[in-house]
Each structure stands twice: as structure tokens, then as C-alpha cells.
């Protein structure tokens, strides 16, 4: 009751959850140009889901699973939305509208369409053991590629499912999430969940889904995948960063309804994986263009951001591509020896950041 009154007051006064403020990127999130300086080693449309497989490091592009050299490992009839590598060599792949496909390992070729489980918008998954897969379902209302629709409708229909691969049974662990799209098992066996639209990383029980702990909250962007780092801690990627104009629009339902009805999606005033491709796009770097050059601090719809977190999921260091850069929409990363590979889904680039995976990260006090 009190929370409801507090919430209504917050909306009236524009504070708390209803504030249109955005946390500043400072401290370990201080902007730099490291992603723009990284080498691009491959490119593919909708490049996503970097992961180690028996065939070596792979990525997905639409319905195909490819090696870094571009050879097709597997191709499906639906777009691949997630890929997760299991301890026995099995690769689980989420197919938009096609359930889950298992490739390699003992269950090679198996397809799963859980009767009670998620069918679409599978955004991320992680193996707890060889037989158990935890899957994040971004939304029940929209397919994965319509993530902007879900954000603009303030979707809260995401869920985490626990799937028994042998039995083909699925159990709902946690519902009512705002686009969960990153999962990782914590050192204590609990589960980190990146809840994008609420700009936070939750820590929940991996068996029951219970728990309210916010491991990392009030983030300045929309967190995406979480990948454990070999030298301790995690890599956290971001779809884009927040800005005050989008935050304001997210609090204006009439405006959003009209915008979604009347404006083509590419030109919505909403986060994007890439921007600057058309003069019809909104903002245009919020006018901060001088002598034809975009200012890096301009408000932007798209951004590239990778954050290295310690074991307690606290940011320690970050790599950026700012408003004037192009390595935007980093949705997936994977370590390759001492280097880190990053999938910039916006331009479809595969980036190699030399030596960053070898850096040791201390625990935050």
C-alpha cells in the first residue's frame, strides 16, 4: 500500500523510478575510445552469440552458426537468438519461433519445443550442468528482433526457465522480468540475470528463482549478455546506453503510442544497435555536430560498451565506442586466449581487443 502511494507520488514529482535522470558514466565507466581502436577481424550481418565450440570459436549470423573463418557449422530455418556451450560439447541454440536446437555432443540434432515452456524470444541461456539449461525469455509479447517494441511498451513479461534436456521438461523459475537477456552462474551457485529494461543485474537462486538481490543496479545502459572471465569476474555487455530524452519518452505513454503507430521503427526515438545511417533519424547526435563532425559526448541512440566486473559483479574497467564511433551494439563477447572478441551487432563487426582478457581483476572492497 505504502509502496503504491510512494510510486504514485514519484510519478507526480518525477523522482525515484519515475525520474528522467540517467546515472553518469564515471569511475570505472569513464568513456574512452577503446572499441573504436579495436581491430575488426570479420563482418557479417546481425553478428551475435560468440562462443567456444568443438569446431573452435564460433558466432551466429541470422540462422547460421559460423566459425571465425566464415565456415558454416550449422544452419537452421529460423534466426538464432542465443547460443550456449555445455560442458559435454553440446551447443544449445535458441531459434526464433523454432524452440531450442542442440548441436554437437551426445544430443546432436535434438530439437526441443517444450509444451509448457518458452517458444519465442529466447535471448540467452546458460548450462548449469550437462542436462540442465537455464533459458532467458525476453518477452512473451514480442519476438527477439522486436526488442524495441517491448522496451517502448515497457514490457515486463520476460521469464527465466529451467529446462531438463533429457526429459524435455521446462520449469518457470522467475517471471515478470523486464527483458532478461543475460545469464551467468555465480561463484556461489546462484544465477546472475541481466534485466535490461530495469538497467540492473539480479542475483537469484538458480533452483527456485527466488531472491531480490540487485548485484548491480542503476546502470547507465541496457545490459545484455554476461560472460564469465577466465581471470575472475565477468564481462558485461550493453545493447546501448540510456539518455534523458528516451527516459522521458518512456514516461509518456501517449507519445509512445503515436510514435509507434505513425513512425517507421528505424526512426523511433528509442535505443538502437546502430545510428547515423540516415538523415531521417531522430536526434542526429542531438545537434552536437560541428564542422561536420559529431561530438563524442553527444546524446546518442546507439553506443558500444563492454564492462569488466569483478566476482561480486562490480564494474572495474570498461571499453567504449561513443557517439562519434561505430562499434555500437555490443551484444556478445568471448575470450580468445589473451584477447577478447566482441560482436558489434550494429555494424556487424567482429572486434578483437588485444590482451584485455589477461588482465587480473581484484575484488572490490
Amino acid at each position: 500500500m505504502f509502496a503504491a502511494i510512494q510510486g504514485a507520488l514519484d510519478v507526480f514529482l518525477g523522482r525515484g523510478e519515475a525520474a528522467v535522470t540517467v546515472p553518469v558514466m564515471d569511475g570505472p565507466l569513464k568513456p574512452n575510445r577503446a572499441l573504436d581502436a579495436a581491430r575488426s577481424i570479420a563482418s557479417a550481418p546481425a553478428l551475435d552469440n560468440l562462443l567456444p565450440t568443438a569446431a573452435g570459436l564460433c558466432y551466429t549470423s541470422g540462422p547460421a552458426l559460423l566459425t571465425l573463418s566464415g565456415e558454416t557449422v550449422a544452419r537452421f530455418e529460423h534466426a538464432i537468438t542465443f547460443a550456449a556451450a555445455g560442458p559435454d560439447g553440446t551447443v544449445a541454440l535458441g531459434l526464433e519461433g523454432g524452440g531450442i536446437a542442440l548441436h554437437g555432443g551426445a544430443r546432436n540434432g535434438k530439437r526441443m519445443q517444450p509444451a509448457r515452456g518458452p517458444l519465442g524470444c529466447l535471448t540467452s541461456a546458460v548450462f548449469v550442468d550437462a542436462n540442465t539449461l537455464l533459458v532467458a525469455q525476453g518477452s512473451v509479447a514480442h519476438p527477439a528482433e522486436q526488442w524495441r517494441h517491448d522496451l517502448m511498451q515497457r514490457g515486463r513479461t520476460g521469464a527465466i526457465w529451467r529446462i531438463d534436456l533429457d526429459a524435455g521438461e521446462s520449469t518457470l523459475l522467475r517471471g515478470k522480468l523486464a527483458w532478461p537477456c543475460g545469464l551467468a552462474v555465480a561463484n556461489d551457485g546462484r544465477l546472475y540475470v541481466a534485466e535490461s529494461w530495469r538497467h540492473r543485474v539480479l542475483l537469484i537462486d538458480a533452483r527456485s528463482g527466488a531472491g531480490k538481490d540487485v548485484a548491480l543496479g542503476d546502470l547507465p545502459g541496457y545490459p545484455a549478455r554476461i560472460v564469465p572471465a577466465r581471470r575472475g569476474g565477468y564481462w558485461l555487455t550493453f545493447v546501448s546506453v540510456r539518455n534523458q530524452l528516451v527516459e522521458l519518452i518512456l514516461r509518456e505513454p501517449d507519445y509512445r503510442t503515436r510514435m509507434m503507430a505513425e513512425v517507421p521503427e528505424a526512426y523511433w526515438m528509442a535505443p538502437a544497435l546502430s545510428s547515423g545511417g540516415s538523415f531521417q533519424e531522430p536526434m542526429q547526435g542531438s545537434g552536437l555536430k560541428q564542422m561536420g563532425q559529431m561530438k563524442p559526448w553527444a546524446a546518442t541512440r546507439s553506443y558500444g560498451l563492454i564492462v569488466r566486473c569483478d566476482a561480486a559483479m562490480q564494474p572495474v574497467r570498461s571499453w567504449h565506442s561513443r557517439a562519434d564511433g561505430r562499434a555500437h551494439g555490443i551484444v556478445s563477447v568471448c575470450e580468445d586466449g589473451p584477447d577478447l572478441l566482441a560482436a558489434a551487432k550494429g555494424p556487424g563487426w567482429l572486434l578483437r581487443l588485444d590482451g584485455v582478457a589477461d588482465e587480473t581483476v581484484g575484488a572490490a572492497p
Partner: protein, 516 residues
């Protein structure tokens, strides 16, 4: 900090030979406050056409000395001579009559009046013809080569131009000695160059200058002689050419600073801890304008800015000392929770304490004992409103903190006003820390504190950060920021405009961000 000076205009006049009679002289000057000497047995001479720099740490006695020159303080003992003749001053008017003018760090002009009106303030006639006044002022300013419009309202002028007006007013009052107290603190680098040229021109015109600055490089570059004060005593006076930075610093603190006080600027910062405070787009009045920053646990966040940059106001808003207007917008999140403090008490309860820069007014109750003051801090948390006030507990608490902070006091029952500045500051810090905070904001923690206490206070603040507390140190003294902070935030015009890790920070970079 190195300041690039425009050397295109060389000094045309220097000090006259030492055998000449000093223009201004102090012999065995002592000034005591309640029996405590602020300056003791100071001998000082100022020659005709000389620029004499006085340097010393906070609390060294510079201000007391210059205020004695300016007639603000009367000497307890010793004598002052001008042109070799004894001079007894009862008030600043006597000093002005003797040709001694002082230009304060914060200019003493009337902002709503024009430049000309300020220059001739106090000389108004029954009928004042403004046009004539402006022409007169124009000629006067042009004669001094000052590019200031006499009809301009003072509030519209920049800091350097305001100083020009102050100087013009001093010269108009036939000042033969002008004392500048930290004249460059509020100036941009360009304005600083301009100011130095002005001072040189004054010297050419036969005016003598006493120059007080924290920026040692400025003293080394501009002055003819330097006097170093320490703990109220004159340590050395010598020609500037015989000094280098290290010698000045050693004279100021009595030892090399390289390891204890303001050394090791380039060092590895402590790692980032959890984000404790997130300030997002807050505004408050004219002093805080849509500013955002974060503070992390286990680190010292240095907050630097020039006078009027809004540093103190930002942190006072955070701590609830200044009330943030409901409709000013913005958000403050402390430990992940949105907070808006209207008074300090809920902030204290949540774990935010603010250690004031003005301890005498806001820091302690001067009529109370050390124990009483520290216990007041404990009571302010309101942890148990039904508990009785226990002087026994107050004494126990005080004993713990007096020992922990090495407060030099006879007993916890001693009145705080009887302590030195450094020990008073330690009690103020103890009064804050007894509240078991998570975020400690120190505003100018070593202002007016003796050098020995500075080192102890710095060590204590460092220990807080090592123990995992989130610490903010606001300081207008760059060496302190460089020595203490793990990351530096620079404030300008009510906003945080720059952030840098201490491993990448230099005094030049910080100052550039503060003024540009």
C-alpha cells in the same frame, strides 16, 4: 603547478640596495589571540619598488601578518615602521592613510555600482556629475594602462578586471604598498599573466607589493624576495634567486614533503569499490547546475574547483545541509536508494556525514567540552531517542576518539576553544565519525590547521579509505588533492566538468579543467 608567465615585459625596477631605509618594516612583531601567538617575533622589511612574497602553509600566520600591515589587527608587541618612522595603527583607515592598501582574495567592490563609482567610493560630493566622474576615471585607468570600462557595472566584470579596479582604487588612495592576498586563486591562466604584468607595472611606478600565494611557482617567478613563515614564525627571508621550490617547501614544513605531505602525485589509485553515491542531474539555486557524479567505496574522491565553483554546495545538498528544492529535478541515490534529504539528520542516519570547512561556525559548540562535542555527534544520529544523556558515556567516547585521533588535550573535559586549530579539526572529524558513516565528506579538512596536524589528518583520511569507507575530500589546494585523491572531480560553474584518475592527473590538467 607551473605557470607560464609572459616574460615579454621584463621588470624595469627591482629592490633598491639593502642599505636604503625600508619602506615598511616590522620589528619583533607578535600578535596573540587569547594568549596564543598567531605570529611571534617577526622581523620583516619591504623595500621601495620591491615585490616581496610571503609563503607558508595554512595557519602559518600569513593572514595575521598582512592584516597587521593593513591595520585590521593591532600588534600585541613589537613595532611597525614606515620610512623608518614608527607607525601605530588603530584601524584600516590609518593604514590607508599611511599608504598601505590590501586587495583581498574576494574583492571588496560594490557589485551594483560602476567601476568609476567604486574607485571614488567615499569621496562623493553633494552633487555628483557622473559624466565627469567617468572621464576622470577613464583618464586615471588609462594612465595605469588598465583596460577597464569605467562605466561598466562591477558585477559584469571578470575576476581579473575586478582586481584591476581594486588596484586602481588602491593607487587612487595613493597606496605606496599594496598587499595581495591569494590574488590569482580565481584567475584564469590568461588573466594570471595579465595580473602579473599589472604588478610589474605598479612596481615600475614605485609601488611596493606584498604578495601572498599558495602557488609557490608564482612566488618564485614574480617576487624579488621571499619570506617563509611557519607556525607563526619567520623561518627565512632571502632573495628569490636563492630559492627553488624544494627549498621553499622545506622551509615551509621544516622537512622534505616528498614522502609525507604532498608527495607522490603519480601513484596507483585504490581500486573502485561499490558505487555508494550516484548524483544525477541535480540543481540547487544558482550554485549547483544540473550536475552528475558518483562516489565509490574504498576510495578518496577529490573534489577540486575554484572559489564559487559550487563544490561545497553540491556536497551540502547531498548531505542534507542545503535543502534541495522539490521541483529542481535530479536524483540522488545513496547505496542504490533514491534519497532527498531536507535536513542532515536522516542523511546522518543513512550514513552520510559532512565535515564542514568552517569549523568555528558550523563545526563545534565552542562553549562545550571536547567530550560534549563528540557526544553531540553521537546524539545527532537519534539512535535511541528515549535514552538518557550520559556524561560518563560521553567521556568514554571522547577518550576513545582523543586517543584514536591523537588529539592533544589535557583531558576530555577541556573546552574545545582552548585547543589549537589542528586539534579542533580532529575533534570535528571525531564528532562526525562517531556517527558510524558510510560516506564521509571532508570540506577543506586542513584549512587553518598546523602542519603537523595536516599529516595526521591526511593519514587518518587515508586509513578511512583503506578501511572501505567512501571518502570525498573537497579542497581548493591542489597539492592536497594530488596527494590525497584516488580520482579527481573538477567543478566549474556549479557542475562537475572533468574526472580523472590520479595516475593521469596533473596540476596543470586539473587547473585547466577548473578554469576553461
Amino acid at each position: 603547478m607551473s605557470v607560464t608567465l609572459d616574460r615579454t615585459e621584463p621588470k624595469q625596477a627591482g629592490p633598491v640596495p639593502p642599505q636604503a631605509v625600508p619602506l615598511l618594516e616590522l620589528r619583533k612583531a607578535t600578535k596573540e589571540f587569547r594568549g596564543v601567538p598567531a605570529i611571534k617575533d617577526i622581523d620583516f622589511t619591504l623595500m621601495q619598488g620591491e615585490i616581496h612574497a610571503i609563503v607558508g602553509e595554512n595557519g602559518a600566520g600569513k593572514s595575521t601578518l598582512t592584516k597587521a600591515f593593513a591595520g585590521v589587527h593591532r600588534l600585541t608587541s613589537g613595532e611597525m615602521l614606515i620610512d623608518g618612522k614608527p607607525l601605530v595603527m588603530q584601524s584600516p583607515a590609518d593604514a590607508l592613510g599611511a599608504g598601505i592598501a590590501m586587495v583581498f582574495q574576494e574583492t571588496m567592490l560594490v557589485p551594483s555600482m560602476t567601476v568609476a563609482q567604486n574607485i571614488y567610493l567615499g569621496e562623493e560630493k553633494l552633487y555628483n556629475r557622473l559624466r565627469g566622474l567617468y572621464i576622470q576615471a577613464q583618464q586615471f585607468l588609462a594612465g595605469m594602462n588598465f583596460a577597464v570600462n569605467p562605466t561598466a557595472q562591477v558585477s559584469t566584470l571578470g575576476a581579473a578586471q575586478k582586481q584591476m579596479v581594486e588596484i586602481a582604487r588602491a593607487v587612487h588612495h595613493k597606496a605606496r604598498v599594496i598587499i595581495f592576498d591569494e590574488p590569482t586563486a580565481a584567475l584564469t591562466p590568461e588573466e594570471k599573466n595579465h595580473f602579473f604584468n599589472l604588478v610589474r607595472r605598479l612596481v615600475v611606478q614605485g609601488v611596493s607589493v606584498i604578495f601572498i600565494s599558495h602557488a609557490l611557482e608564482e612566488a618564485l617567478l614574480l617576487s624579488d624576495r621571499i619570506t617563509v613563515l611557519r607556525d607563526g614564525e619567520r623561518v627565512v627571508t632571502d632573495a628569490t634567486k636563492n630559492f627553488d621550490r624544494e627549498r621553499v617547501v622545506q622551509a615551509m614544513v621544516g622537512r622534505s614533503l616528498s614522502s609525507s605531505l604532498h608527495g607522490e602525485a603519480k601513484r596507483q589509485p585504490r581500486p573502485y569499490g561499490r558505487k555508494v553515491l550516484s548524483v544525477q542531474n541535480i540543481s540547487s539555486g544558482a550554485m549547483v547546475r544540473n550536475t552528475s557524479f558518483s562516489v565509490f567505496a574504498g576510495q578518496i574522491t577529490g573534489l577540486f574547483g575554484l572559489v564559487g565553483a559550487g563544490r561545497t554546495e553540491m556536497m551540502k545538498v547531498v548531505a542534507g545541509v542545503l535543502k534541495r528544492d522539490l521541483f529542481d529535478g535530479g536524483e540522488i541515490r545513496f547505496l542504490g536508494r533514491s534519497v532527498r534529504y531536507r535536513i542532515p539528520r536522516p542523511a546522518v542516519r543513512d550514513g552520510i556525514v559532512y565535515v564542514t570547512e568552517d569549523r568555528k561556525v558550523e563545526g563545534f559548540f565552542e562553549t562545550m567540552s571536547i567530550a560534549g562535542n563528540i557526544y553531540t555527534g553521537k546524539l545527532a544520529t537519534g539512535s535511541n531517542p528515549l535514552s538518557l544523556v550520559s556524561m560518563g558515556e560521553a567521556r568514554r567516547l571522547a577518550k576513545t576518539w582523543i586517543d584514536g585521533m591523537k588529539v592533544r588535550a589535557i583531558d576530555p573535559g577541556a573546552r574545545i576553544i582552548e585547543l589549537s586549530g589542528g586539534n579542533q579539526q580532529k575533534v570535528v572529524i571525531a564528532k562526525a565519525l562517531v556517527q558510524a558513516p558510510k560516506l564521509v565528506i571532508f570540506d577543506e579538512p586542513t584549512r587553518g590547521v598546523d602542519v603537523g596536524a595536516i599529516v595526521e589528518i591526511h593519514q587518518f583520511i587515508n586509513k578511512l579509505a583503506d578501511d572501505g569507507f567512501a571518502v570525498v575530500v573537497i579542497s581548493s589546494y591542489l597539492p592536497e588533492i594530488m596527494a590525497m585523491a584516488d580520482r579527481v572531480l573538477v567543478a566549474r560553474q556549479g557542475k562537475i566538468v572533468e574526472e580523472m584518475g590520479i595516475d593521469e592527473a596533473t596540476e596543470e590538467k586539473i587547473m585547466y579543467a577548473a578554469v576553461h
